[in-house]
């Protein structure tokens, strides 16, 4: 063990500075101390999150269903799950939908969030406080409550949105809104899903961007104005370069968060049984739990694919974090 110590006294050292005679014992105890301190947390993480990752990979390479869950030996099947998945047209359709929906959520969230952040910065304090509180309401709403209220707003028969559309003149919005079902097909459900997710995520971006904007010295904008730059130019020449690390981080977080959307879709689609409107996380769930018989192996193969994609994005996040010195 070659750890170096920074301090004379350590928090786990019950008697404080030790008498000389026992000094030989001290280095060893101190070398162990950090490991003992992280051990409980590490154990919990290993059992709950690390081991299941290993198991997920293992299951994806075996025939794994209800019988294997009950204890029967699982049979190695090579990469059969992966070849099945990758040649399955349905998988690719869901994969494409996931990417498209996720990108739409991220782009709208980032653009709207940035604009609102700039707006907050321009408003006088009283107005930005009120708007900030309003944003906080949307942000703090539990995911499931948000999904439920959007399902209610767009309810087929009594939803507010359909009622308004039905009340508006037909020449403006067309007819047939009285019984319009938004939740049956992907082309109408996904837009509502996107609105639901954006509604909850743009406040975080807006408030982060506001905090970033406040850290930019005013002289930079003045200098830009002297050079004759308008609002658009000074955003791209001053704000954006200054906040580039923040934007990078927000972008990565949004992509990862939006990629794993499950609860909102579960509520909007009324469970996981609707095969028409799945995204990757829901598809994993359908294969693993909502199909008869459950196919844990196949579900795991898709979960592995999803995890690899997330980890690839995380690698970029890590780079940002390491640059910021978070791992030091």
């Amino acid at each position: 063990m070659t750890q170096t110590l920074e301090r004379a006294t350590t928090p786990d050292d019950p008697q404080g500075p030790r008498p000389r005679i026992r000094s030989k014992l001290v280095p060893r105890r101190r070398a162990l101390a950090p490991y003992l301190l992280i051990l409980p947390a590490l154990t919990a993480l290993a059992v709950v999150l690390l081991w299941p990752i290993v198991q997920m990979v293992w299951m994806s390479l075996h025939d794994y269903g209800l019988r294997q869950l009950q204890g029967q030996e699982a049979e190695w099947n090579g990469f059969a799950h992966y070849t099945a998945v990758l040649t399955d047209a349905r998988f690719w359709e869901i994969f494409r939908n996931t990417i498209v929906v996720c990108l739409a959520m991220v782009v709208v969230t980032m653009v709207l969030g940035t604009l609102v952040g700039i707006l907050l910065n321009k408003l006088p304090t009283w107005a930005s406080t009120i708007l900030g509180l309003g944003l906080m309401l949307a942000w703090a709403t539990p995911v499931i409550s948000a999904a439920i209220v959007y399902r209610w707003l767009f309810d087929t028969r009594y939803g507010l949105f359909n009622s308004i559309m039905a009340a508006l003149p037909d020449w403006l919005v067309g007819s047939g809104w009285e019984e319009f079902n938004w939740f049956n097909s992907p082309s109408t459900l996904f837009p509502i899903l996107i609105v639901t997710v954006v509604w909850q995520s743009f406040p975080f971006v807006a408030i982060s961007v506001l905090a970033g904007l406040k850290s930019i010295p005013n002289e930079l904008y003045e200098a830009a104005r002297m050079d004759g730059a308008g609002a658009w130019k000074s955003f791209w020449n001053v704000t954006f370069p200054m906040l580039r690390p923040l934007f990078a981080l927000l972008l990565v977080l949004q992509v990862i968060w939006d990629f794993r959307i499950f609860t909102q879709l579960f509520i909007l689609a009324g469970g996981v049984t609707n095969r028409e409107v799945a995204l990757l996380p829901v598809y994993i769930y359908q294969l693993g739990f909502a199909s008869t018989p459950p196919n844990y192996g196949m579900g795991s193969a898709i979960a592995v694919i999803m995890t690899v994609l997330v980890l690839a994005i995380t690698a970029y996040y890590l780079r940002v974090m390491i640059r910021q010195g978070e791992t030091r």
């Binding site: 750890q3 110590l5 920074e6 004379a8 928090p11 050292d13 008697q15 404080g16 500075p17 101390a33 490991y35 301190l37 992280i38 947390a41 590490l42 919990a44 993480l45 059992v47 709950v48 999150l49 081991w51 198991q55 997920m56 299951m59 794994y64 869950l69 609102v116 707006l119 408003l123 708007l131 309003g134 944003l135 309401l137 709403t141 539990p142 499931i144 409550s145 209610w152 707003l153 009594y158 905090a211 970033g212 850290s215 923040l246 794993r260 499950f262 609860t263 579960f266 469970g271 996380p281 994993i284 693993g288 844990y296 579900g299 795991s300 997330v310 980890l311 995380t314 890590l318 940002v320």
Partner: protein, 293 residues
Amino acid sequence: MNNVHRMRRTAGRVGLYTAALAVLAFAVFPVYWVLATALRPTGEIFTREPTLLPRTITFEHFERVLSGVLIPGTSFWSFLTNSLIVTLGAVIVAALLSLLAAVGVARYRFRLRSVFIVLLLVIQMVPVEALIISLFVNFFHLGRTLDMELVNNLAGVFVVYVAVSLPITILMVRNFVNAVPKDLEEAAAIDGAGSWTIFWRILMPLVAPGLAAASIFAFITCWNEFVVAFTFLQNNTGAYTLPISLQYYFGAVSIEWGSIMAASTLLTVPVMIFFLIVQRRMVSGLTMGAVKG
């Protein structure tokens, strides 16, 4: 010339406030609609011509949620108790474990230190939604080995919540420990204070706000968690937490929107309160120093 300038400025200001109002309406309206639905009589909910403001205010939906029976053998209070047990339990344990780990990471240099931090950053990103199958299988088997039921039981959910909360709480608390000057502790040591005293008298008071913020963070995450609870507890209605009890309303033939909105309000209130307390740290916690707010 001057007039044109002033007109332009006024127009700009009008545009600014109009935009602000539009954003405010977009953000607040759904929250308002939850309350407006929860507080109006059923007759006003199931109508093709809904009014923006409730014509009559009633608490009948709240009463039905609080005293009625959604699923035989359960009540709102059993969902609430389950949610509180599993969330508070997980938060307390996670706070304890993360305090230890944060001190270990912030106060010592050891070989696996960076590895541990990178592990936290990575694992924080691994989606539980992808892990859900192996989590279920893993806990099913672990329960068998230990001869106890971890699936279909709050115990399993509790353990998952502890682990899921750990990465972000450790990283947050670590920043607070880092911020405590070492000179303070060294000075106390010179004055003859033992490590235990140093820990409780010097470190703890300074780290406590951070620990509280991190705990509230973890509380919100666990309180809202859906997919793990739904997967693990599906067949044991007695162990349902609040979020999955909400999902149950959709199984009915005709959906009782008044009751759902009342129940949803009750789920949301604690989160809103905690959110207001930690709102400042929300941003810095999630972006980890990319914004010095």
